[in-house]
Every structure is written in structure tokens, then in C-alpha cells.
Symmetry: D3
Subunit: 238 residues, 6 copies
């Protein structure tokens, strides 16, 4: 089977990230996975949500939006059900690798704004948001506002799916639109599952297919985390 863009079944799209893309944000990155492009920023303030008051713990929360021009027909502004679902996923994914106690009494706001959508915007958002968060925390540590790094592990995300019976890694939009089943995987560098969301809306999938998808996804996550580490190293040496 030939993929639409000539990739192998288990091949990620080219991944790129431009750190510091938003000069005013505390941490930011423009991440690109193939034709999908997302601006991820992290900005903290010294407040916490009501349910954490008095606990000494901090919080990480996220928002997700698509710019009107990010899709071939203009997308209206304003959060819909899908955006709500995604922003919650991003928030949970990042919190899973952050020691909220070490973060201290502050909230880090993650914002993921899609500027070009070609499938996998939520997974690119998570992979990029990790980088924005890392850059933000790095800055706060350099400024002496945080003493112990609250980030405990790398986290990244990728989509996998079944198209024409074949299991594919990192679906682009055209593949995603024709998929029988698709799954979003969020994992840490220790190969542990943080979030797994699989949907077989047009056709349920079997346990065997599920295992194949999971293995594919693990491969993708390993490569994405390797990418994150390399990018961070580069920033470090600055």
C-alpha cells in the first residue's frame, strides 16, 4: 500500500519546531508536523484555581483554537465541543509530567493556536506544548522564580489509524478523513501511557488491530521525544 504522501506505514511526517516564536510569551514554539502548523505558548501567573487555594500546589491548564484561515474553508471563531475536548486533553497530558507541588502557587496557561490544519493538530499541540512549557519553566528558573524543575519527564503525542485495512502512523488530514478507526496516543519517555483515545466510529476495531496501532504509536512517540530532546539541547547551549 502506497501512502498519499509517499511515506512508509510507520513513518512520521517531517517534524520541525521554532522556539521563541512569540517574543512576548514566556515560552513558545511554532511546531510543524508536515503541513500541520501550531503556535504553542506558555505563560504563567501567580494565581491558582479556587480548588487549589491553600494547598501550595500549582496548576497547568490549556486552551486550543484554530485560526479562521487554518482550514480550506474559513473556520468560525469560538470554542466548539471538539475544541473543548482537545483543550482538556492537552491540559491533562502536561499535568501528568509536572510535579504541581514543585511548580508552586502559580498557573501555567498553555495556548495552542493552529495556523495550518492538515490532521493531527491535537497531537502536534501536545508535543509542541511540552516544548513551550519547558522553555517557560527554564526562564522562570533562570529568573529564580522556581528553584526545582517541576517537569518530571518528556511527554509527546501522535495519532495512529486504520486506513483501507492498513495500520498507519501519524495520519494527515486526507488519511484521517477516510480512516475506519483512529487513535491518539500520549506517552512519556519511559514508554508509559498518559492518555489513549481510540475511536472506531465507522468500524469498531479488534484487540489485535489495537495492539498493532499501539506498537506503531510507541515508535512514533520515541522519535518525537528524541526530537524534543535534540531541540532542547540546542536551546541549552545558547
Amino acid at each position: 500500500m502506497e501512502r498519499i504522501d509517499g511515506r512508509k506505514l510507520d513513518e512520521l511526517r517531517p517534524i520541525r519546531a521554532l522556539p521563541g516564536y512569540m517574543g512576548n510569551a514566556h515560552g513558545s514554539v511554532l511546531i510543524e508536523a508536515g503541513q500541520t502548523r501550531v503556535i504553542c505558548t506558555a505563560m504563567g501567573d501567580e494565581t491558582v484555581p479556587p480548588f487549589l487555594e491553600g494547598t501550595g500546589k500549582g496548576w497547568v491548564t490549556a486552551e486550543y483554537a484554530m485560526l479562521p484561515g487554518s482550514t480550506p474553508t474559513r473556520k468560525k471563531r469560538g470554542a466548539d465541543g471538539r475544541a473543548t475536548e482537545i483543550k482538556r486533553l492537552i491540559g491533562r497530558s502536561l499535568r501528568s509530567v509536572v510535579d504541581l507541588k514543585a511548580l508552586g502557587k502559580r498557573t501555567i496557561h498553555i495556548d495552542c493556536d493552529v495556523i495550518q490544519a492538515d490532521g493531527g493538530t491535537r497531537t502536534a499541540s501536545i508535543t509542541g506544548a511540552y516544548l513551550a512549557l519547558w522553555l517557560c519553566i527554564q526562564r522562570y528558573m533562570e529568573e529564580g522564580r522556581i528553584s526545582v524543575n517541576p517537569i518530571q519527564a518528556h511527554v509527546a503525542a501522535v495519532s495512529v489509524g486504520i486506513v483501507d485495512g492498513a495500520c498507519l502512523l501519524d495520519l494527515c488530514y486526507q488519511e484521517d478523513a477516510g480512516a475506519q478507526a483512529d487513535m491518539n496516543l500520549v506517552m512519556t519517555e519511559a514508554n508509559e501511557i498518559v492518555e489513549i483515545q481510540g475511536t472506531g466510529e465507522t468500524a469498531p476495531f479488534s484487540k489485535d488491530q489495537f495492539d498493532t496501532l499501539l506498537t506503531l504509536g510507541e515508535k512514533g512517540i520515541r522519535e518525537l521525544i528524541a526530537f524534543q530532546k535534540k531541540l532542547i539541547e540546542g536551546v541549552h547551549t545558547c
Copy 2:
């Protein structure tokens, strides 16, 4: 390890369902899983959403809400992010087993209203919504409005999770609140996965744990679908 309510690790809570609970709805059931109680209704109208106009296909959509008195401290009315996430899950789960072409130009509205919450409200909603949908379709077929049954398979849902290192089936609220990881599984009677949503927010989980949870969940789904079949048989004989 002893479970809080004395159940075995792989034991479902007692499940009950009262069909026809809402006299005016086209299909309805009051479903109870332990102390969790949800009213599920199905009501159709002869319209379809804009994106299906002219296709001849129908639609199944869902809403989910908690009554203010369903939790120990009063829950404010109005949809929040969590409710949005759940109503989308319910909708996708039911559509996965419905032939939208056979349903014809109509929308079935599923409403799940929680009257008592003790964990697992979204999975009970799906298991109950299937029954409400079945009753609604049955009535439409009897009235001659639908000729071929568009429901293609049973679908049910259950939660599984890791509490104090142990893998448990069908978490009640107290177990859920202390879980390291939890997963909601939606499956068909053919043992196929329709939706899988796993979260390891406080502690990511490994592939092995994941497999154990999946096996536990499959057992629960089998029992829930057996329950659905028995209940439907009883209704049939009426």
C-alpha cells in the same frame, strides 16, 4: 485487596434498568449501576443536521447533564467542559452501531440525565442510552416509520482503573477519586473496540497494565451486553 463495597476485583456493580421510565419519551430507561442512576431517553424528529442534508442519512446525537441534586454538594446547571466531552462520547458510541442510511432522514436525540452520581456516569449513560435507542427504534418500526432496523450490534461501556496498584472493574466514585489511572471502554457484542479513553493523569501506566485493564473491561462489557439482551427479551414478550 478488599474493595470498598466488598466486590471482587473483576466484579460489576449490580445493574438494573427500568424501561419506559419517562412516559412521554419515545424510548426511555432508568439505568442503575450500584448507586449511580441515570435517566436515558431517545426522541426522534424528522430533521437532520445541515451537513447531512440531501444525503438520505440520519443522525444520532446526545446530551448529558447532571441534576443539581445528583451530587453531595449541589451541582450548578449548565454544560461545562466535562459534559461536552461526555456527550460527544455518547453520540459517537451509539452512531458506531447504527446504519445511518437505514435510519433515514431523522435525528434521534439521546438525553442522559444523571439523578445520582457514584462514579461511572458516562459508561452507565452509554449502556442505558443503547436501551433507550433500541426502545425508540422498536416503537418507530411498530408504527411503520422505519422498515429495516438500523441497529447493527449491541454496544455497552464500562470503566476500569488502577487503585493502589490493583486493576479494578467498574469503579465507584470513591475508587475513581483515588485511582492512579482509569479507562473507559466502549465495545460491541463482537468484542470490538468502539472507543477507548484511558488517562493516567496522576501516574502514567504501562503497556502490561493496559492489557490487564483491557481484559477486565472486556469481561464487564460481555456481562453488560448479556444484561441488555435479557432486558430486551423481556420487553419483546410484552
Copy 3:
């Protein structure tokens, strides 16, 4: 004249109430007046609205909603003008029999959720809400949170109306839809009027008709309050 359901002109529909219907609410009842069924709950918290701060007085407020499946065609969620009108009526009715000073610095939230609508949902809501409130207060007194019972009298409500020239007690939906005039009466056990809301939209009514309706309503209220007292006695002996 024959009534649609065979009742006499001055006969209430069968009234039933199931206390403790919502296990998590502080006070609750499922009330049924014929085919009309409403879940009424009462839940308190230790806050008061801004205009009562510093007065030592408490507050009783209400919300009213119809479940989407409560009517033969699905009712959209969300408060409309009618619901706003009704929730204000319920709130005023209950406050009329509560000593807000004795209630102390707390707000009791009454929620009336209609699960089956066949006319008279607002009056059944008031009659049932009284019971939910009583059960809630009883519980707070048992827990020592309130020392003196702030409830000063029974309150109940019933509808009356003119259909085909005849004055009827407790209209069901079909009677209500064809009524020339209808009136909702809220009265205490001392036969005093708390609220009276009469509308002759399709045909104004005369003073004489009004007097007849009032007398009918008084009879209904007496029976409803007797019913409340009997139900409370039963609970008491538990």
C-alpha cells in the same frame, strides 16, 4: 359534564410522593399528580446572596426545568421566559412560610425537574418542593446545624380553570390547553392566600367565576396539605 379522565369537577388527580428519591440531595421527593411527575430536591450551603450579607437572615431560592423527554416532542434544554416565571413563583411560595431569621446564614436551593409533564407542573413543583424542604430542614436539625425549625406552616399549590364553561379543579394538560381561563393558587394550611395567578387570555372571567374557582382551589389545597401531613408523619416514625 364528563371530564376527560372521568374525575368529578372538584376532584384532584391521584397524588403520590416518594421521599428520599435522590440519594445525594439533602431533601428530595418524587411527586406525582396523575401523569405529571416532578423530582424536587433541596440542598443548602452556608452562603447568602449579597443583599442579605450581614443581616443574619438566610434565603430560599428555586430553579425549575423540564427534562427534554418530559413532553411528547423533545423539549430543548435551557431556561426560557416561562421557566423564569415559574422558578420565581416557587421561590416566593416557599419563602412565605419560612422564617429566614431562624433559617440562619444559609441558602436552601430548591430544584424542580419535571420528568413527565401532563399539566400542573408548577403547582406539583410547589407542593413537592415543600416536602423536599421539610426533609432537608429535618436533616439539618438532626445534624444540629439548625436548632429551631424555620418552617412556619404548610404550603401547597393547585390549578383551577374554566373549560367549556365549567369550573374544574387540577387541570391535566388536555384540559389546560383548551381552558378559557386558568388560575394557579398557592395557599397555607390556615387557608390563607400566598400567591394567586389567574389568566383569562382567550376569554376574561367574571368576579363570580373567580369566586367559584377560588373555592374549588381551597378544597384542593386542603386535600394536598392533608396529604403532605400524612406523608411527613410516615417519615417521622422512621
Copy 4:
């Protein structure tokens, strides 16, 4: 007993009305009852609400608002529960005297904007809205848009209440604020009741008190309708 403004117990406040107050509206009046001043306008368009489509009937609907400067402390803009209740009352009251069939396929929008509030704003709104409606219909008849006058009777409204044990007609704000019970009466020129809304929130009232209030209200309505007739005559002769 002396009333705060020296009136007799059964005496209306001075009533004035300035027709044509809003040059652009199709019918308008500035009505004043003592210190209470309300701008009432009527404006039609050739549409009807969905539930009347195809019936040939028209509709009369109303909105009610208080200008921010109408009360001694600034009132925030935006409809609250009270405004919702009142606009529904105004709409019902006017529809009760309009033959919707004769009105034809059009909606008359009534707008009541309070510019000075001193009690009785809702009853002044109804009395004034009748005049605005009459002027609007008159204009449409002169323009040949309506052939048969759809207004079937005069309608007016007044408040009555119990203050310090005395039954009073047409309460001003200070009387209203201290009333044990108050009632709004809407009646036609034939002495028939269109709407009656009585509330005894701080103290329920007896059947005898109710009768006294009703008699007082009837007297007030008679005088208000006489006032309406005189004003209309004056307009006629122009």
C-alpha cells in the same frame, strides 16, 4: 390612616399621558402615574412567530426595561427574571383584547421603557401599552393596512395592596416596599378579569382581604379606562 402622599385609600395617583411621544414609533405614549413614568411604543412588522405561520393570525408581544437612571441607584442594563415576568404579563394582557385573526399576518411589538420608577411600573406599562397599541392600529387603519379594528375592548391595570393592615389602591414605591401583600389586576371595560397576580410573601392574606382588594382594584380600573377613553377621544378629533 394617612397615606404618605395624602391620598385617600381608594384614590389613584394623578394619571397623565402624552400621545405621540416617540416621533418614529407607529404608536407611542408617555404615561405618568404619579412619579412613575413609562414610555410605551407599538411597532408592527409583517412577520409572525413560527407557531403561527400559515394560520393567518397575527401576534402581539411585549418587552419591558428600566432605564439605568430610572431608580435612585443606577440599575444595570439587561433583562432579569423580574423583567421576563413582566414582559410576559404585558403581552398576555394586550392579546386578551385583540382579535388576532383580524390583526392579520403581522406582529405588533410593544416596548415599555421605564424612565422613572415609583411603584406600579408594570401596571402603568399595561395601561399605557393599550394606548400605544390603539394609536398604532389607528394609523394602520388610516393607511389601509388593516380594515377591521382588531381591538375588542379596553384593558387597563392597577395595583392594590395591604399596608399596615389597610387596603390601598395604586401603591407608590414606598407603600409597595412596606406592603404585607400586593396584587396586580388587569381588567377590561366590561369589568372582567384578564390577569390577577397576588403575592403575600411576607404575610399571606385572607379571602376577605382579597375581596376588599378586588373591589378597590375594580374602582381603579374603571377610572383608568375612563381616562383612556377621554384621551382617545381627544386624539380622534385631531
Copy 5:
């Protein structure tokens, strides 16, 4: 060239103002510029917006609305983009002549409600709002709540525009609707520009035309400020 209402090119419409129009407001005026009529009120409270807390400064803010009956076809209630733009303009204009430090810790709310619209509602609102503010401040000074008058200069506003190639002062609606360009000018008594907003949507205008318009506007402002001064003098002598 003949103007539609016979005015000279540089002639204002007749201007009138009725102070104290809203008995409950702290300062109020009904201002009329030709057929345009606006109720302007000023009401203060002892709070300031969050960004001024702790600064000792006060604030002046404004709202603008059109009554539904103010235009020949009914205008729906609720703020739109145009109203938002106008209320911000009114607020800035008044703040430009107020010493917020001398005003002290309070917010003056200006409300401009158009009851008849015939062009120039925003400029009439500003000219009238100045008077309402002056009356409000005057009252606060008489009550001893403010010691030093925080108003530093008169401010007024007028529109100018190009119609059929001619530069006109103070456009009525029909002129405004056919204007190639129009400009709103807000100036102080010292002939200084506070706000200038010119739009040449259908046809851009040249620098020369602009100068002519500005000169016309200055003449209008001088006359409006003279009018304000005369009116205030009259009030003083009361």
C-alpha cells in the same frame, strides 16, 4: 445648494435641553438637536474599576443605547458593534475634561438612551452627557461629597460631512445616509481637539476638504458650548 431642512451649510439644528428630566438620576438632561432626542443621565457610585484600585483616582464610563421605537423600523435591543464604538467614544470624551484625581474614588456612569434618531445621536449624546455630568457633580458638591470641581473644561461634539460635494455642519439622518464622507468632532471650549473620527467609506476625502470640515466643526462646537454655558447659568440661578 439647498439643505433638506432649509438650513444654511454652516447652521446647527435647533438645540434644546431639559435638565432634571429623570427625577431619580443624579444628573440628567433630555437633549434635542432637531429631531434627534437623547436622554442623558449621570449616576455615581463609590467604587472604581480594578485597574484604578489603590490609586485614589475615579473613573467616568458611558453606555449608549437606542430605544426600540427610536427608529422608523423597530430596533432590536442589545448592544451591537456600533453601540460599543459609541459608548467608548462618549467615555473618552468626558474623561478628557475631568480631573480623575479630584473626582476621587468613585465612578460616574453616563447613560445615553436615544428616544428619537435623526442623525448625530452620538454627538448629541456627548454634548448632553457633559450637561448631565455637570449637574451630577454640582449635586455632589452641594452634598459635600466632592470639594473641588473635577470638571476642567466644557466639551461638546458635532458632526460634519460632505454631501453632493458640499461641506455641511450637523447632518440630519437623510444627509448622513447620502454623505460621501462624514466626521465627528469632539472639542473643548479652548478650541482643542479631544476626538476626531472621520470616515470616507464611499469616497475618500482630500486634505483640503478635511480642513474645510474642521473649520465648520469648530464653528458648531463654539455655538454648542455657548448653549451649554447659558443652560448652566440658568440652572445656577435656581
Copy 6:
């Protein structure tokens, strides 16, 4: 006087534009004026607003937003009064140079999303939106959807202001924050004024200052339009 960034009083910030920045939009540009960066897109659809139906004319409308990370402290999502004011300004400015008849029955949606804010975001939005619109129209003409170019002239915008008594061209944020007066100018290539919005909130400005500012602005606009022309030429030769 030394400007904060070393520029001469009448010197623009460096201006750059990257066409085709949003691959899915029909026309797009990333425009940068110094540190201010805005993504401008243009996307058409074949509908028109209700008030243009049946006229054969098209429409150009705009939206404006700031990404949360565009300012040093995170900006909450959602339109406020300022954004409403700006989007209306952008829409009017572009419509002033478009022949809506030649545009035909379609709406072009302009979206300006600020990714870095350092003053002058609204003027950069207009200058960039012109380019996005030009690219969009160019594409539609190449696709044969539009035959005659509806764009009649270049339009660009710039800010001018008075800081410490000096008149400056193209204010950056720090200059803007301390300005006594500032003005936004929108002009065509024929040196004609499309929009002029000047505010002297903290200190009104004189006619002479105004003239100086206008001359400064004209110089800036000339340079910006030269820049637009050069960029378009480059695109043309592709």
C-alpha cells in the same frame, strides 16, 4: 529628542511582509512593523449579508484578535470593546477601496490575528489586510471566479502621536503608552483620507499639532504603499 529605538521623528519602523504565510487561506500575509507582528488572511464565500441580498453587491468584513501570548502578560481570549472597534475600522478601510459591485455576490472575510503586540497593531492589520485581500482577489481572478479586479486603490494605515510635546510617526508600545495624543490614519495611494481617528484623552491637541501629525502620517502612508507595491510586484513575477 531621542526616540526610544533610535529612530528619527518621521521614521517608520522596519516593515516586512511574508505572503502566503497561511497555506490554507485564500490570501494571507505575515506582516511585521518593528516588533509588532500580525497574521492577516482573506477568505471568501459565496454568500452576502441579508441587507445586500438581491443587490448583486458583495461585502468585505473583518475580525481582529490578539493571541493570548501576544502581550507580556497573557491576554484572555474573546472580543472586547476595543477589538470590536478595531474590526469595524479594518472592514470600513478595505471596503473604501473595493468596488462591491465588481466583487460580485460573495463575502471576503478578513482575519487579523496579532501574534506579537508592540503598538500599532490596528494599523499594521490594515496595511497587511490589504495585501491578503489583494492575494485572495488575485487567486480568484486566476481561477476565473472574478473577471474585473474590484480593488480600486491601495490603502494603508499608520499611527502618529504626540510624546513629550514632539510629533512622532509610527509609535511603538512604549511611546503609545506615554502619548498625550495619538491618531490613526488610513489613506489611499492618491493621498486621500479614508479614516482618521484622533484621540487626545490625557490632553486635547491644537489645530496646528493636528496639521503636523497629518503631514507626518501622509509621509508614512506613502512609504507603506510603496512597500505594498514592491511586494505585490515580486508576487506578480512568480
